[in-house]
């Protein structure tokens, strides 16, 4: 019977092309607008950490004094850490993989002819564990050796694109180039394919959806000797005399993030216990002089929500687009009624010839479903145009249609149209057939 209903539906759609087109467009516009906003939302809500999400933890410390009640975010923690604390966490006697991160901008000198030095490159100081914790895929070479985290050496890990820009080739492992002041030489330890997770959860202090990935990774052990100023947020809670890089290192300014990998509950408990002890110890040294000195760890999912990666605008637009879909569907109900009313006589004849109410209902619901399917297809087309517009407007590369959205859009439009079709289809199958059979 289903194929028979499909055949009838298709025939009926062709018979009333204008009305059918209006219904399809009404559904398509609603689906297109809502899928655009939902896709964008979904891209923002994406957790790129995957199954490492509940293992990686950002560390926070309420490291402020003056007997203040709260500082930083709503829960009384600043997002970032002081250098003193990062140094202590890094040197703590714990076996968990961990890494500090801060961003710098650097000049890089290309070795290709006729290419001028550029300072547009971002770099980050990290420890060796960064690469395994954040799943950086190497094309050539690998991270610097473990000893470099203790005994600083001028080694770096660079991206494939940067390797090509400097050397004109992808495999540059073992080669050296000039960075920072344009004179100091650094040796390439590894080249990675591309590392730009969206959102850039590993360092949210420098933008959530950067177009460019991190270019250069340099050993954190070099920080004190290189004296490279950070490129990003620096916040403080008290006035401090800071006149050079060495002053920042000693200050209470927060400007770095620290990640540690805790694979199970026991590890988490152990780390929390460690933070408690650390806070106590620092308090005895006169730091953390606030009303509630404490530390905290947050896994990736929590960290993304905490940093409000999804903007309020985005939520509002999703809601508005769903309301728009609702209006489109109310519209479709009216148009479907108009379309089906013309078929009352036919439905009466079919009833007289032995069709049950259920069969008539199914026949019209199949037709609505078919309209919904076409509406969904056109809606997907509109959504891809909409997403293009959204990418242009917001200047990002995220939010593209993928397979799950494709299926989601079709399901949504089918569901929406079937809901829409119930009233008109009931109207047709419940009407008394005999009145449509008389001559007038």
């Amino acid at each position: 019977m289903f194929t028979y209903y499909c055949k009838l539906a298709w025939r009926h759609i062709l018979q009333t092309p204008a009305l059918s087109l209006l219904i399809i467009m009404a559904i398509a516009l609603g689906i297109g607008a809502s899928m655009t906003m939902i896709s964008y939302y979904k891209a923002m809500a994406h957790n790129p950490a995957g199954d490492r999400s509940d293992k990686l933890h950002a560390v926070q410390l309420a490291a402020y004094g003056n007997d203040m009640e709260t500082w930083g975010m709503s829960d009384g923690f600043p997002r970032q850490l002081t250098h003193q604390d990062v140094k202590n966490l890094r040197e703590a006697d714990l076996s968990f993989p961990s890494t500090p991160i801060y961003q710098f901008m650097t000049v890089i000198v290309s070795q290709r002819e006729g290419v001028a030095p550029s300072n547009d490159y971002a770099g980050r100081f990290v420890d060796r564990d960064f690469f395994s914790m954040f799943d950086v895929k190497f094309l050539h070479g690998g991270p610097w050796s473990e000893s470099v985290d203790e005994q600083p050496e001028n080694q770096v890990v660079i991206s494939k694109a940067l390797s090509e820009w400097i050397f004109g080739e992808v495999n540059s492992v073992g080669k050296t180039f000039a960075m920072l002041d344009g004179i100091m030489q650094f040796t390439v330890a590894g080249v990675y394919e591309e590392f730009n997770p969206q959102p850039a959860y590993y360092d949210l202090t420098t933008g959530y959806f950067p177009r460019e990935g991190a270019g250069v990774f340099a050993p954190y052990s070099l920080v004190e000797q290189l004296e490279t100023f950070p490129m990003g947020n620096i916040s403080g809670w008290q006035p401090e005399e800071v006149n050079g890089f060495k002053d920042i290192l000693k200050s209470e300014y927060v400007w770095q993030v620290f990640w540690t990998q805790l694979d199970n509950e026991a590890a988490k408990a152990q780390y929390k216990e460690f933070l408690k002890g650390y806070v106590e110890q620092q308090r005895e040294l006169g730091r953390f002089a606030n009303q509630n000195p404490r530390g905290d760890i947050k896994d990736v999912e929590t960290w993304l929500n905490y940093n409000e990666v999804i903007s309020e605008d985005n939520r509002v637009m999703v809601g508005m687009s769903l309301l728009f879909l609702l209006v489109c569907l109310v519209n479709a109900v009216g148009l479907l009624l108009a379309k089906f009313m013309r078929k009352m006589n036919e439905a009466g004849v079919r009833r007289a010839l032995g069709a049950s109410k259920g069969q008539i209902f199914s026949q019209y619901l199949v037709e609505v479903g078919m309209l919904g399917f076409f509406g969904g297809l056109v809606g997907l087309l509109l959504a891809s145009i909409g997403l293009w517009a959204v990418r242009e407007l917001y200047g990002t590369d995220i939010a593209r249609l993928d397979f799950s959205l494709f299926i989601g859009a079709l399901l949504l439009s089918l569901l929406a149209s079937l809901l829409t079709g119930i009233l008109p289809a009931l109207r047709v199958c419940n009407s008394n057939p005999s009145i449509f059979l008389k001559a007038q």
Binding site: V107, G182, E312, G334, L335, A338, A389, Y394
Partner: protein, 400 residues
């Protein structure tokens, strides 16, 4: 034409009318809130920066060589740039209105201030003494910062600064009854004396609220943002030559983000503009869909009532009467829907208020949206109603 019979006839078969009403009420609820949000953003984007936008270029200057006498270099930069035809003023600052690198600190009445004595957290500019002239700020009272206020050089904190200027709004907030001149306030724990008040200067970034809470301090700035004021008709030429000129003077630095104030504003308000474009697109589509829906449903009603219309015509109704019949029927339905829709608009706004930090809907937006919907709905009725008025009276006597 009396409304009585229209209502009765509509009430007997209410589905079509009900659908029109639901659609219009929903559209009003959504559209008025959207209009409101759009207007909020447009107002934000068109705020006065306090700067002579059309004459100002900014660029970021970044040194990489370590052995550079930046102070001497800044003097050379200034001298050289001022020789370029059209350049009127040159200044270094840590940040620019609508630009990056925002320094914010709480401004307190007391040194060890609690929350009550620190009511606001303005952004403060750390610029050389030419900054006000380069941006074209207006003095309200007191004096501009000069060489006597110029203490530190590119330091990270403002440890040695002693004086500051406030925006007019900020001065009024702290000293509503008297002049702020000569008063002392604590900026991040440091005591500063107010020597002047300027009319307006926006913060860096694109904050929606308290955007005009700003402070000016002076220092011997030599890097960060370079701001240049140029005759409007020369601005493009200067912009093009800027990087080459600056790197030509010293190649141990890089010049990036060379932008006019208008371009900086476009960057800063990118999200707001995106929101406006998206909201307006949805509103436009919404109104289009509603118009088509109304037209569709009215045609449907006309088709259903063909016989009735024919009978009315046969009984002496003129074409005008039939037209008036459908127009007034639509008017009644739309008006009722708009009343219900206003309530829904308010309810939706309440929800938005609670869930997001949106402001309360002003009545004027509901009126504007309602008026446009009434117009659209009546207009959408016109075509099918005209068709109805052309129904021949002869149809009444035909059987099939």
């Amino acid at each position: 034409m009396a409304f009585g019979p229209i209502f009765r006839s509509t009430l007997r078969n209410p589905t079509g009318a009900l659908l029109i009403a639901i659609q219009i009420a929903l559209t009003l609820a959504i559209a008025s809130n959207m209009f409101y949000m759009v207007n909020e953003r447009v107002e934000k984007m068109s705020r006065d920066t306090g700067v002579v936008n059309e004459e100002v270029i900014a660029a970021r200057v970044f040194y990489f060589g370590k052995a550079v006498d930046k102070a001497a270099q800044a003097d050379i930069d200034r001298k050289t740039l001022l020789e370029i035809p059209g350049v009127k003023s040159v200044s270094y600052s840590n940040s620019m209105p609508l630009g990056g690198n925002n320094n914010t600190s709480s401004l307190c009445f007391e040194q060890e201030g609690d929350e009550d004595s620190c009511p606001h957290s303005p952004s403060y500019y750390r610029s050389d003494v030419n900054f006000h002239e380069t941006l074209g700020l207006d003095l309200v009272e007191g004096r501009w910062l000069n060489d006597s206020d110029n203490v530190t050089t590119d330091a990270i904190s403002i440890a040695e600064t002693r004086t500051m200027m406030l925006s007019e709004v900020l001065a009024k907030l702290y000293f509503p009854e008297e002049s702020a001149l000569g008063k002392q306030l604590y900026l991040g724990g440091r005591e500063l004396t107010i020597v002047g008040v300027y009319r307006q200067l926006l913060r860096p970034g694109a904050r929606a609220t308290e955007a005009d809470h700003t402070i000016l301090t002076a220092e011997r700035r030599t890097s960060g943002y370079l701001a240049i004021r140029v005759d409007q008709d020369r601005i493009e030429q200067v912009k093009e030559k800027l990087e080459a000129t600056m790197v030509g003077l010293n190649d141990q630095r890089v010049i990036t983000e060379i932008e006019t104030m208008d371009e900086m504003a476009a960057d800063a308000y990118r999200r707001d503009k995106a929101m406006v474009v998206l909201l307006l697109s949805v509103v436009a589509l919404l109104l289009l869909v509603t118009a088509l829906g109304v037209a569709g449903l009215v045609s449907f009603t006309v088709a259903n009532r063909k016989k009735q219309i024919g009978t009315r015509r046969a009984l002496g109704a003129s074409k005008r009467d039939i037209l008036a019949y459908f127009i007034s029927e639509n008017f009644a339905i739309t008006a009722l829907a708009l009343i219900v829709g206003s309530g829904m608009a308010y309810a939706l706004n309440q929800y938005l208020l609670q869930t997001y930090e949106l402001a309360r809907l002003e009545l004027v937006y509901v009126f504007v949206a309602a008026a446009s919907l009434l117009f659209i709905s009546q207009f959408a009725t016109l075509l099918p109603a005209l068709k109805a008025s052309k129904v021949s009276p002869a149809i009444a006597t035909r059987t099939v």
